[in-house]
């Protein structure tokens, strides 16, 4: 395994009922970098992320984290090294915010003191008011739920963050705040991240690099500037233009 690659996707291929969802997707993410996967609905970007999370098995191809190949035997150990954030945070409604965040620590037998210390640390990091910790998900706003979801993903200090449309369901102002906070957190903690989003501006803002998917294949990979200035094919140009982000941050 080459130095300088935190997460490698090799030749991933998956089809459902003879219909190809993704074909020969090969991507790697350097340590501490964020790679954003963008593309229209049905382009296969979520399938890629779900394979990396071990939720679906590819028909062909491999996922490697560092030196470790993901398979049935290594899956659980690898999952403890990833943090997973989905829309709305994916919080368990029967647990308080605190219990949601603390869940894996308790499962792994952490001392209560250590759990409390770690949760307090994360509360400061994501900018959540501590009194929110005692609340149930139903008593939190969308933005607060998402912050708790990020805390939960960070509890075990994972190497890799998997972010599946994490800010999808939020209204624009809160979304903008969270985008800023999320970028700060990922940079400050120096996490490797794989982000799935349909929003080109978000991809450009959060991602160091962007991979554009279309019909299950990677069309182009590069920085936002690369995509704007040297689009690999007319689809990339059209996808960027359709999202009205020609003035994306440079």
């Amino acid at each position: 395994m080459a130095e300088g690659i935190a997460l490698a996707l090799r030749d991933l291929t998956k089809s459902y009922d003879g219909h190809a969802a993704i074909t020969a997707v090969t991507l790697d993410v350097p340590p501490r970098a964020t790679l954003a996967l963008v593309g229209p609905s049905g382009s296969g970007k979520s399938t890629v992320l779900r394979i990396v999370a071990g939720l679906i098995a590819p028909d062909r191809g491999d996922v490697l984290m560092g030196d470790t190949l993901m398979n049935g035997a290594t899956k659980r150990a690898l999952r403890l090294r990833m943090g997973y954030v989905i829309q709305e945070g994916g919080l368990f409604p029967h647990l308080t915010a605190f219990e949601n965040v603390a869940l894996m620590g308790r499962e792994l037998g952490w001392k209560e003191e250590r759990v409390r210390g770690r949760v307090a640390e994360l509360t400061g990091l994501v900018g959540l008011s501590p009194e929110m910790l005692a609340r149930y998900p139903a008593q939190l706003s969308g933005g607060q739920r998402q912050r708790v979801g990020i805390m939960r993903a960070l509890l075990l200090d994972p190497e890799v963050l998997l972010l599946d449309e994490p800010l999808g369901a939020l209204d624009p102002l809160i979304r903008a705040r969270l985008q800023e906070d999320l970028r700060d957190i990922v940079r400050r903690l120096q996490k490797t991240a794989l982000l799935v989003t349909h929003d080109m501006a978000e991809a450009a803002y959060l991602g160091d690099e962007i991979a554009v998917l279309r019909d299950g294949r990677v069309v182009q990979r590069g920085t936002a500037r690369d995509l704007l200035e040297r689009p690999a094919d007319p689809f990339v140009t059209e996808f960027i233009r359709a999202q009205r982000v020609l003035e994306a941050p440079r």
């Binding site: 999370a53 999952r79 989905i86 368990f92 409604p93 029967h94 894996m104 139903a138 008593q139």
Partner: protein, 495 residues
């Protein structure tokens, strides 16, 4: 919890004993109770520890109980033995019946002295208006409204054979419970009904019993059936109960029936009077428990039936629900099986279980358990399969093992549905357990059943009201339990 302890105590108190144990059975009507109680009293006075199980529902049930050894003896009628037990054609004589039953290890006593045959009774006004005297007169009046017991409708020596023998159009007789038929004929809702010739109501209501002019009905001489091994296990009991042979004539039996049915006398006291009447036996000051003690005992039995069967259904039903939720193929099969069990009528299920498990609490517990299973399995399955997939995936990617996911995420999230299933089962169970009295398991069905036989509304309510209150209490207890068990976060509505 207190009730369970109380029930267990009551059970323990009744269990200790000395001397050979003898169990007498009787069917679900007063004459059978009285004869059973008389036999039980005689055996008890001869040093046996005797239990009398009343209200065993129907010939098949009580005979199966005898053959399986759940009871040692019970009163029966020769006509019923011929028709229902040995399935004989014609009217075989007693020695022939005795020979056939001996092959099954069952002994038959000499006749007790009275013939309680079937008869057809007609309301007095109707009999007078149409000039009905003989059963053959019925053929001329096909529009008469008949109310017949289910057993009479079903037996070859009942309505089908009678209608055929007399050329009466079979028509559509109403199937009705025997004691309710007396109410119906009194109220003018039916014109004729089947009766037993020793029914005390015949005289009270002035019913006209039609002459069996073609001698269709066989003799129904009362006898005692007993297990052949009783002569070895408790010879004194067998000798004692056979003292009734030839001692009870029709007049004595009708008088004893009237004491119970019309004068609302306790069965034990009526049986005592019958013994004095028939044997000149020494009167026995009967230490009958008061009604309120009875009620506690019934309630204790009832709660025990409900608690044990429900607990077993939870212990098995929740795991079955979990397994079903894991495998859609298996779920279809398991849910179909428990659904089919649910559709078996409770009485039929009880009857199936008797050859396997005898009578008493055993088969009742199994039946109640089977009925309780489906709501619990189905709700567990539904509760687990309706958790949003995204949350299950989150739990998986967090690194929780399958066991931890089940314990920390899935079961707590499904708990409202599972609890609702258990609640449904518990409430149904309290109601269905009243039928357990039919197979000698006791419970609140006991006073209901006896009350129906005696047309004693107060006695029916004595069982029905506690059963209804118990159902409400169970409902309320589960509402409280829900607050304690279901995580608070699941009861909140999203803002």
């Amino acid at each position: 919890m207190k009730w369970i302890v109380l029930a267990a105590t009551l059970l323990a108190v009744s269990a200790h004993a000395e001397g050979p144990r003898v169990t007498i059975g009787s069917k679900a009507f007063p004459e059978s109770w009285i004869l059973g109680e008389a036999a039980a009293t005689l055996a008890r006075r001869n040093g046996c520890v005797v239990e009398h199980r009343r209200n065993l529902g129907g010939t098949e049930i009580v005979y199966d109980a005898l053959r399986s050894g759940s009871i040692d003896a019970y009163p029966e009628y020769t006509g019923t033995i011929a028709e229902v037990i040995v399935h004989a054609s014609g009217h075989p004589p007693l020695p022939e019946l005795r020979r056939q039953l001996a092959q099954q290890g069952i002994g038959v006593s000499e006749p007790l002295g009275f013939n309680d045959s079937y008869g057809i009774a007609v309301a007095p006004a109707v009999a007078q208006r149409l000039g009905l005297r003989k059963i053959s007169d019925l053929a001329k009046h096909p529009d008469l409204r008949l109310g017949l017991t289910h057993e009479f409708l079903g037996r070859a020596d009942g309505w089908p054979g009678l209608a055929h023998a007399y050329g009466i159009p079979a028509g559509h007789p109403l199937g009705i419970q025997h004691e309710l038929a007396f109410q119906a004929i009194q109220a003018g809702k039916i014109d004729a009904m089947d009766v037993y010739t020793t029914d005390s109501w015949i005289e009270r209501l002035g019913l006209v019993v039609l002459e069996d002019d073609r001698a269709f009905f066989p003799r129904y001489d009362a006898v005692l059936l007993y297990r052949a091994d009783l002569a070895r296990r408790a010879p004194q009991a067998l000798v004692a109960i056979r003292r009734l042979e030839g001692k009870i004539d029709e007049a004595r039996m009708i008088r004893a029936n009237a004491r119970v049915v019309l004068e609302k006398e306790d069965v034990a006291i009526a049986a005592d009077s019958l013994l004095i009447d028939a044997l000149g036996a020494e009167p026995q000051a009967n230490t009958r428990s008061s009604r309120s003690i009875d009620l506690l005992r019934y309630l204790g039995q009832h709660l025990r039936l409900v608690a044990i069967s429900l607990l077993a259904a939870i212990l098995l039903g929740v795991p079955i629900g979990i397994v079903s939720a894991r495998s859609p193929g298996l779920a279809r099969i398991l849910l179909a099986i428990s659904g089919i069990v649910q559709t078996i009528p409770s009485l039929a299920l009880l009857a199936f279980l008797i050859p396997l498990l005898g009578i008493g609490a055993g088969p009742a517990l199994v039946a109640l358990f089977l009925y309780s299973l489906l709501p619990i399995v189905r709700n567990t399955y539904t509760g687990l399969t309706t958790i949003p997939p995204a949350l299950l995936e989150s739990a998986e990617v967090l690194g929780l093992t399958p066991a931890a996911r089940l314990r920390r995420i899935e079961l707590p999230m499904a708990s409202p549905a599972i609890l609702a299933g258990i609640q449904t089962s518990a409430v149904i169970n309290v109601g269905t357990a009243t039928l357990a009295a039919l197979i000698g398991a006791g419970g609140l069905g006991e006073p209901i059943l006896s009350g129906i036989q005696l047309r004693d509304t107060a006695m029916i309510l004595e069982g029905a009201i506690p059963a209804a209150l118990l159902a409400l209490a169970v409902q309320g207890a589960f509402d409280l339990l829900e607050r304690a068990v279901v995580p608070r976060g699941l009861r909140l509505r999203s803002e």
